[in-house]
């Protein structure tokens, strides 16, 4: 298939305009000795029907999407209202670029402005940017931002922050002279305040914790925030499961200085992990140190309201190496989906969704931990994920579940050696009681 729109006659006319006889002449300034003198070794072109069937064939090699899954751990199955797919697939949203020319991009810009407002409302923070790549890199950007704001180089990270977020943070900070230490968790599954108090000092730029944390446990953010602020450090809260914000006290109301997170739960399918979006919100005093695109309301020459990208003096295209971040684009289309999702659900829908998550996860947790040989690992309250410990280890349970067409959960041992026989399970509003009962029944079969 070719997507070129010129006929052979038109090509010839254009070449005549340029005074050339061959398209090769256009490339005469390139060194001939390195010109590729053969065809690229890639398969011959496919027509549209061939292309579709070849991807259908590859797709059939994925068994997982057809299975009943209780996997979460940073990527959550949630309902997606049909209007999200319908509206976000409009070419006017899919095919423009970054709104550099605001007069020709008001749709994109107003959506960003609404998105920023929704993120501020949900997190209870002053300002939001137009989105970042994903939850993990957003957490890393938050660490760099805290370093810029505080001038300090030590970051404390709760051990219960998503392991991939921690890995990305380590990758980002290691060339910049920052150092990271972990803060332990207690038997409740929550951050250990004593360990935090021990490790926090005047050199600490920031403390990062996640709530609900990687174990699914809801942190006591008020308590952590008080300890952090007592030491003049910045309190950063990561929200990997933002559906929780429909119900739980937002980080901004608990003293967070920066809130960062993963927006996948808001209308974005699992997508094998990407694309999704990272969100970031902060107190307004940090505006000049904020990374990423930001949209602002303004007026046109007739006095009508309009929106523009603003504060570009923070950004790489103006400041070059002195910019707050190297990020250029945001994840605009994913942020559009999140905006449509949130505006469609509204406060009642989002709250109801969160309440269902709490109920269903707790229902599953109580049922599972009621089985002989299964124990709930942590005593802290959970949102839609929980950790259970299985006598004889998780692997044999997992194998049995897979044979029944169920993805039961994530084995924690590779990520947390201290949680050897444990698995992390996720239950959301998409799981029916019948499906949960199935899971419990099959687990019981193994342990009987």
């Amino acid at each position: 298939m070719s997507y070129v729109s010129l006929s052979e006659k038109e090509k010839k006319e254009m070449m005549a305009t340029l005074g050339i006889n061959s398209l090769d002449d256009l490339f005469c300034c390139l060194p001939a000795e390195v010109q590729l003198k053969r065809r690229l070794e890639i398969p011959a072109a496919l027509t549209e029907p061939e292309l579709v069937s070849s991807f259908e064939k590859i797709g059939r090699k994925n068994a997982a999407p057809g299975m009943l899954s209780f996997l979460g751990a940073g990527a959550y199955p949630h309902v997606i209202p049909h209007v999200v797919d319908y509206l976000s697939s409009r070419g006017e949203f899919v095919s423009p670029y970054t709104p550099y020319q605001p007069e020709a991009s008001q749709g994109t810009l107003q959506v960003i402005f609404e998105y920023q407002t929704l993120i501020c409302q949900l997190t209870d923070m002053d300002i939001s940017n137009a989105s970042l790549y994903d939850g993990a890199s957003a957490a890393a950007e938050a660490m760099l931002m805290a370093h810029r704001v505080s001038g300090k180089s030590k970051v404390l990270i709760a051990r219960t922050v998503h392991p991939q977020y921690k890995e990305v943070i380590r990758t980002y900070i290691k060339n910049l002279g920052l150092r990271a230490e972990e803060v332990a968790f207690t038997e409740s599954g929550r951050l250990d305040p004593e360990d935090l108090t021990r490790k926090i000092d005047t050199e600490t730029a920031t403390v990062l914790c996640q709530s609900p944390n990687f174990m699914g446990v809801i942190e006591d953010l008020d308590k952590i925030g008080a300890i952090v602020h007592n030491s003049q450090a910045l309190f950063v809260v990561a929200v990997a499961e933002p559906a929780s914000l429909g119900l739980l006290k937002p980080p901004g109301a608990c003293g967070a200085d920066i809130v960062t997170g993963e927006g996948q739960s808001f209308g974005i399918p699992l997508s094998f992990g990407g694309p999704t979006l990272g969100f970031m919100a902060c107190r307004k005093d940090f505006l000049r140190q904020f990374p990423g695109r930001i949209a602002s309301q303004t007026k046109d020459v007739d006095g009508n309201r309009g929106f523009v990208l603003t504060l570009s003096t923070r950004e790489q295209h103006i400041r070059r190496e002195k910019a707050t971040s190297n990020i250029c684009t945001n994840q605009a289309w994913c942020a559009l989906r999140a905006t449509i999702f949130l505006e469609t659900l509204g406060p009642a829908g989002l709250c109801e969704l969160a309440i269902q998550n709490v109920h269903k996860a707790n229902y599953a947790m109580v049922k599972l931990s009621g089985l002989k040989g299964v124990r709930k690992k942590f005593s802290g309250p959970v949102f839609n994920e929980f950790v259970c410990e299985f006598d004889g280890g998780w692997e044999r349970v997992d194998e049995h579940l897979k044979s029944k067409g169920i993805l039961g959960g994530l084995r924690l041992a590779p990520l947390y050696p201290e949680l050897k026989d444990c698995a992390l399970l996720c239950v959301t509003e998409v799981h029916t009681r019948e499906e949960i009962d199935h899971l419990v029944g099959f687990v019981a079969e193994v342990l009987r």
């Binding site: 256009l26 010109q35 890639i42 797709g59 670029y97 890995e167 914000l245 190496e321 829908g349």
Partner: protein
Amino acid sequence: MIREPLIFEISARGKRAFVLPKLDVPEDKDLLKGLPLRDEIRGFPEVSEVEVVRHFTRLSQTNYCVDTTFYPLGSCTMKYSPKVNEKVAAMESFLFSHPYAPEELVQGNLEILKTTEDMLGEITGMDAFTLQPSAGAQGELVGMMIIRAFLEKRGDARQVVLIPDSAHGTNPSSAHICGYRVEEIKSNEKGTIDLASLDRAMTERVAALMITNPNTLGIFESDILKIAEIVHARGGLLYMDGANLNALVGRFRPGDMGVDVIHLNLHKTFSTPHGGGGPGAGPVGVKKELAAHLPIPVIVKSEQGYALNFDLPLSVGRVRSFFGNFLVIVKALAYVLSLGPEGLKEVADVAVLNANYIRKSLENVYHLKYTTSTLHECVFSDKFQKEHGVQNIDIAKRLIDFGVHPPTMSFPLIVPGALMIEPTETESKRDLDTFIEAMKKIAREAAEMPAVVKTAPHTSYVRRLDETTAARNPILRWEGKIKE
């Protein structure tokens, strides 16, 4: 004209656009009692479904986009995005794949990733690829990290990265975030890297030279082989920003020209839609000496199938969660497979033909600071029009009245009043001619009735917006109250 309100302004208490199925497990009020609960979400919108649909449909209609108009935004490669690629990426087997699903149950996804890596390797002449970076800028950062890890392993930590003054702003910023000091290389009168300056600057402190080729003027660095030789002779590495690969694909391969590390933008050369500013993808390709430093995980193929390898002690680490922007990668692979080798070569041929046709047609109408021949884009300036008080921003805004998205403005920085035009290969001659006529008309207007240009746009949804006030007193969120 109907002005679309903010969703918050049409919201009213109690309206719903979506209802969940009833809770089917026993309700337990005590469950919530133990949790830190929030107050109501202040200001959150409550609307009906039809209101949501009309709101976003109307907003969409105020956007200029590739599906409706010529969009010659230079350096951004705003080519048409084939629709079948959207369909392929929306197949349930990809859409509903959990990233923590066991390897043996997502073999199709791993096959897609590995196949894409291999094809990008063949197209660019590089030995190994990572698809993890989420965007071009993150690709640059990963590329810099790989260079740093490689040099440190060699016991030769260096401090400086050289970057030409014509480079995209993300280049110096990415090098800086990788802990490097940036030194600028001045362009010569041809618009390319000055070999003498490079020769002076390229010392043992320099880790890498970061070039864009063709550069942001659309000019190919014809001394590329000498450049590579100078950099390599002093122990440095050559990084190439592959943003402009569209000009070369199928004809020239960066890996054959001495490039050690490259990032690509799948949303440029490989047609994945720009989405209003993301998601894109910024794969990084390296020569084999550097492959040990690629981010984890790396996909390996064996007789048992595809697997993920996390055990790479020299890896720079992970740069984002999971496997990158997977669905974007699916679309890029679909694009490569539908074009095939001949189709990819035609991309470069026609992209360069279209750009040169525009350049030739406008070269006496708008000023060309650099007259060196160009490939896929050309950079004019407003020098002639400035004599009448008309600047590049005015020309750009006036184009909106002609139904065309403006070119990239004021970049690269070495061309004052720049208008950077990249038509891509997918545009018809008719669309090119319409654009050329509009540009000529605007030039005439600038001379004869400059006020019309200086007050443009006249017909758009909003007229010229006050960006200065926005920067001085930004309003970054809606602060009103929802109607009862």
